[in-house]
Symmetry: C2
Subunit: 281 residues, 2 copies
């Protein structure tokens, strides 16, 4: 397992300008991409979210060809990896929040070792708690994967129990949003529901993939305003993100849950989907 | 006027680790400090806010002696300057929001040229608009000057009219909060009011100074929940921050305001206060 390798704007580097607006303001975006067999999984969805984020932040979108070439190059030496792609608005010319229009994005690509998947978590499920921190609501920043992640840092530190895999978070208004690093789905009477993310949260690429697979399988799947009652009434709960895929929740805040048929069905469909995607070369 | 000079942990540098958690998550704090005659103005207030921020983020507070020494050294070659002090949680060991407890803060000190004060703005006042972006509410992050500043970047870009000095912002709940880079005071019947900042906004060091000067002068000054009606009824409005001091508002969203006696009285008291502080050497 190698240490982290880093490229900035396509060149090997280990440091970034101390004037970078990503550092000063969190003025940028990121994607965390699971890679296997030298291939970046769900790359079109990652790139589409990055484009949406760039549009929202008024950040020029890097050429897709450039991003794909740099990703491919990063995976040559290490085909099993996690890539983190960060885009920032580059270096600030002076102080202050204003920026010159059209300043191209700076690309940071970091390659991390990919830890082996945890079959116990995928099969038997994970234990989850309810977070105390409430997420602030801002439609201007909701959905995109921007670099302002202090809420997640603070929520993550609420629990240092290694046996607890994730904390589910609510918005300031009391709506269920997501985990600190995952999206959440509830199953009731065979139908799926996942929180709407218009006011906070990140639109996960795995969330979109699972929703699409559900619809293709004829499973009712909707985005909804969800709260504690919905959690209490859920027959199955599972978490998604680009790295874990689907992890069933086997315990939520002390309540035991069984790993149910819908969750397992979607895990099988996801495995097929990723295998098909990989087969396409 | 020199270009920007940068020190990281006391050493001249121009780049920071690409693994810095300030870049990845905005996991850190900053202070922007006006410096004159080789002296950092309102430094005890800046350091106190930094301590409050460190406590909130569970970030070890750097030794005050170290910070003061590095600030003094930075001002030796350029006694008239703006210093920006950034603290981050240093480099991440791996991916993810969790951090090892007690990881010392990384100190970035940036020295910028200080532009000459704008007497027209201080005397005749500035033009201000109402921002469209609503600030998300999160008591866990309110008050401190953390590095998650995308809301300010987005609010700042709403207006590129150089004749407009600032945008006043409201919270998601509709309360007046502050400008994008300043606090705001309203005067009515001789009394001062400034927005409460329990749910969003930054507790400015100049805001605290002005409030203290007002109280010392026997002027009623309170923090309050304020809204558009309070703005409409205000007889005087002024902005504060560490660099501008007090700027009267002479126009708010097309409504003309006069530079009133309370604002001018506090400007005089502030000038005396800063002169006394400087005289203390």
């Amino acid at each position: 397992m190698s240490t982290t390798a880093i490229w900035i704007d396509g060149r090997v580097a280990d440091a970034v300008s101390a004037l970078d607006r990503g550092l000063h303001y969190g003025d940028g975006l990121f994607e965390t991409i699971a890679c296997s067999g030298g291939r970046a999984q769900l790359l079109p969805l990652h790139l589409a979210r990055l484009r949406r984020g760039c549009e929202r932040l008024d950040l020029p979108v890097p050429a897709e060809q450039t991003l794909r070439r740099e990703i491919d190059a990063a995976l040559e030496a290490e085909p099993e990896a996690v890539l983190k792609l960060i885009l920032t608005r580059g270096s600030a010319a002076g102080r202050g929040y204003a920026y010159p229009p059209g300043q191209p994005a700076r690309r940071l690509l970091l390659r991390y070792p990919r830890s082996a998947p945890d079959p116990a978590a995928a099969v038997a499920g994970v234990r989850v708690r309810l977070g105390r921190l409430r997420l602030g609501e801002n439609p201007a920043l909701a959905g995109i994967k921007h670099l302002n992640r202090l809420e997640q840092v603070l929520a993550r530190r609420e629990c240092s129990d290694a046996a607890i895999a994730e904390s589910l978070l609510f918005s300031a208004g009391g709506a269920l949003v997501s985990g600190t690093m995952s999206n959440v789905f509830l199953v009731r009477a065979g139908a799926l529901a996942t929180p709407r993310l218009e006011r906070c949260g990140v639109e996960g690429v795995m969330r979109a993939t699972v929703a699409q697979l559900a619809v293709a399988a004829g499973i009712d799947c909707r985005e909804a305003q969800l709260g504690p009652d919905d959690l209490a009434q859920a027959e199955e709960i599972f978490l998604t993100n680009a790295l874990i895929g689907i992890h069933p929740v086997r315990e939520l805040a002390g309540r035991e849950l069984s790993v149910g048929p819908r969750t397992q069905q979607l895990q099988r469909r996801l495995a097929q989907h990723l295998a098909t995607e990989a087969g396409r070369g």
